[in-house]
Assembly symmetry: C2
Homo-oligomer: 187 residues x 2
């Protein structure tokens, strides 16, 4: 009974959908990309209504993207943030996006992270977390965000992770509405 | 610049090390296996001093195991618990180990989970979490467990996840001492 091999890859539509060469100067532009990924994800039905991306914080260079793949890939850890962080670390071949000698990175997520993703954000070494929709927005359509408290964010900030919330919140929240309207499963 | 593919597999020594057919009746036996995996991990230097396993809670059948692979695999999310849960879900081809029609599962970890793994435990659908060493034990050698609070455990319990802590704590804590003595990196 050998242990399985778990292969994590993005849906085939993702790479051609993204402009990899563009510099995304402002956080709003970065969130626009993330929301667009979420909209396409909902349209194609390839997973939950969440998307994320990792950028170089200061240059706006795009490093990696992620979408929620938990249900289709039978892997409850594959929230968009975890996928994006794994892809970024694989691209740079490092377990820390805050390592010496590489530029500071940030995670941009269509929604405030759940308890797991908030922890994953900390371990990834990103220096900034940018979120769109709020925990309450996600909960309002039935998602559980888990044990995330104000102290959780305070902990992140104390560890040097800047947190910016509510960027393009309405557009990000609309992902949930579109997903529900399309009959998507909230688990 | 296509997105990478992330392949997660256990070190080659793991599968032959484990008795897959045995029924691990008591939680102490289950933790003994987990600690033995952690000891072998430290001896071989294949990652951090943490191990975990997923069992059928009531039969003691072993479903999957995991060890910490974050540094060697350039993937900060690959804590032992996340690896074990991913392996279990891949084996059963489900995003929920608490799904209808399958027996209840439990996660046994050599250490109380960090913030990320506590969240991952919740999303995995396991019905029981069994931990060996404590958060304070991990912190005493320099590991950061992140924003885990008493309310985090209360949240898990409220969602139907039973929590059992301190099983074989001394043996589990000894993993940290052995790892430090072997010159292991605490990051």
């Amino acid at each position: 009974m050998p242990s399985p091999r778990v292969l994590i890859e993005l849906p085939a539509w993702v790479d051609p959908f993204v402009d990899w060469r563009r510099r995304y100067a402002e956080v709003e532009e970065r969130m626009d990309l993330v929301v667009a990924l979420g909209e396409e994800q909902v349209r194609r039905g390839t997973g939950g209504p969440f998307a994320a991306a990792v950028f170089e914080r200061d240059t706006g260079a795009l490093v990696a993207v992620g979408v929620n793949l938990a249900v289709p890939r039978h892997n409850s850890a594959l929230h968009a943030e975890v996928v994006a962080l794994m892809m970024a670390e694989a691209r740079l071949q490092t377990h820390s996006l805050g390592a010496e000698g590489i530029p500071p990175h940030e995670l941009v997520s269509s929604c405030e992270p759940c308890a797991m993703c908030l922890g994953a954000t900390l371990w990834s070494g990103v220096r900034r977390l940018v979120a769109g929709a709020t925990k309450a927005d996600a909960e309002s359509i039935g998602y559980d965000e888990g044990p995330v408290f104000p102290e959780s964010y305070a902990y992140l900030e104390r560890k040097g992770v800047e947190v910016v919330r509510g960027v393009r919140r309405e557009a990000a929240r609309a992902l949930f509405v579109a997903y529900k309207a399309a009959g998507g499963e909230v688990y």
